[in-house]
């Protein structure tokens, strides 16, 4: 569904992505794990069109979307739930959702209202807080609102950047339950996470991103959770760990060495 080929991106002189190649299968949950500074958020922003890549191509449903404007990317059917949720704090819950329906501005009002109802049915907690300012919601509710707002664009692919960030364990459980529900309802999900334990439970396929490059691609179980967690949090140690990994996990697809 989403094919990313050799994407390189940088902030000024700092190269954040050094040729990332990965793909997201339609109808699945794909996870991208990796330590801080590996380039996960940069990749999300590049796919969303907010950052322009230096090299490489991004195609979605067999159409090239490289360098397209963010509004164009959303129109093609990709919505991003940004890192740190980024709800509109001084607008109420309802207004946040309405802003998410931007692409249908000037079109049927009834349809948008129907979508709002649909989203409220999925998130009853938000419905109770329709008139509440988004900035006064709890972290978990804000995350729900950010997801709900992205759903207002009716995406075919929902990208979520660290939805569990800064949330209490019970709330994280709830967010992941929502992810499963969304998937069950037919939404393709591309998830960036640091919480490897939770992510591996829902993922159908996952990638490890280290220092701007994909270092592992496979299914959960192909790499021990211990190994994933170590690499997702700390990054790979040079040399010694690398050879150990190759020996210990012969069936894991090693794409690159440290």
């Amino acid at each position: 569904m989403l094919e990313i080929d050799g994407i390189a991106a940088s902030y000024g002189n700092i190269q954040a992505l050094r040729g990332v190649t990965l793909s997201v299968e339609e109808g699945g949950i794909t996870c991208l794990l990796g330590p801080n500074g590996a380039g996960k958020t940069t990749l999300m922003m590049t796919i969303a069109g907010i950052l322009k890549p230096r090299r490489g191509t991004i195609s979605f449903l067999d159409r090239n979307i490289t360098g397209m404007r963010p509004s164009g990317v959303v129109r093609r059917g990709i919505a991003l739930v940004p890192e740190n949720r980024l709800v509109f704090p001084h607008m109420n819950v309802h207004e946040n959702l309405i802003a998410g329906a931007y692409l249908r501005l000037g079109k049927s009002k009834a349809q948008v209202r129907q979508d709002v109802d649909h989203v409220f049915a999925r998130f009853p907690r938000l419905q109770e807080r329709t008139k509440q300012l988004a900035g006064t919601l709890s972290g978990g509710e804000q995350q729900m609102l950010a997801v709900a707002r992205a759903l207002m664009a009716r995406p075919r692919l929902l990208m979520m950047d660290e939805p569990s960030l800064g949330l209490a364990p019970l709330v994280v459980e709830e967010i992941f339950r929502i992810i499963r529900d969304l998937h069950a309802d037919g939404t393709t999900i591309f998830l960036v996470e640091q919480n490897a334990h939770m992510a591996l439970q829902v993922a159908h396929h996952f990638y490890l991103l280290e220092q701007g490059q994909v270092s592992f691609s496979g299914k959960p179980g192909q790499l021990s959770e211990h190994e994933v967690i170590q690499r997702a949090y700390l990054g790979k140690q040079q040399g010694r760990d690398q050879s150990a990994t190759d020996r210990d996990q012969p069936d894991g697809t090693m794409l690159r060495s440290g």
């Binding site: 907010i50 802003a99 931007y102 207002m152």
Partner: protein, 297 residues
Amino acid sequence: MDFFFGLLQIIGVHTILGLSAYVVLQTGQVTLAQAGFFSIGAYVSAMLTVLAGWHIVPALLVAATAAGIVAGIVGFPALRIKGLMLVVATIAFGEFIRLFWFNFDYQIEKKGIVVGPQGGEGFKQIRFFPENGWSTLDVAIFIWVIVALIMLALWWTDRSRAGAVLRAVGEDELAAQSVGINLTAVKVGAFAAGGFIAGIGGAIYAHYTTHIEHLNFGVMLATFAIAYPILGGLRNVFGTLVAVIFIQGFLVEGLRFMGDWRNLLFGALIVLAMNVQPRGLIDERSVRLVRGLFTRN
């Protein structure tokens, strides 16, 4: 009585000016170019009524459109800059327009007298209202009909889906982009709409003062333009109106008995008002208060 009608005219025109900045501020852009757009409305409409002999209404619409187009053009470079840099850039642009009028000469002879903008001397004899026998009251009514129309249009926009989009851009651009909001369209559109409204204000201003010159459209006027919505609050259009009445009606006219001390108190009261009502004169609390007066329970 003419004094009060005159005051009504001033308040009306300043409300329009404040509303022009209100639209742009909602998208999170601080603009000090509104005096420039205001001056385009003033000069263009005056040239149309005086030199071309048009009626005020079409002249006003054409002048406002011209100001809106120029504002839209300014909106594009403004997309790339934010915050303080945008403030500086819009000041520079406002001054650019003002200095254009300082250098602009275009005079022709009409009925034996030479009329038209004359550089630093300004543009005199903009006499559409007196020539057509409009009294101060007529002019005040004309102005307030327009103020009411603009306020109604903006109030309706605020409550519509478009209002949510405008404010979303002002709140968080990254989040706005991630839900597919086209920043270019929204920000340039807000600038153009703000320029159009400022142009209407300028057109009216030129005709009730009958004499305009470049010095009328300096940074001070631009500062007033953003001070009204900021002081009044960006919650709704009535904040801007209340702020204009507070500043022009109370601080400028009401305190005239204090002589030269007035200016000193003027600044102090604005600072005080902002401290007492940090979210603007019309905020959630004052809205509840006013609602409470009209609903019984």
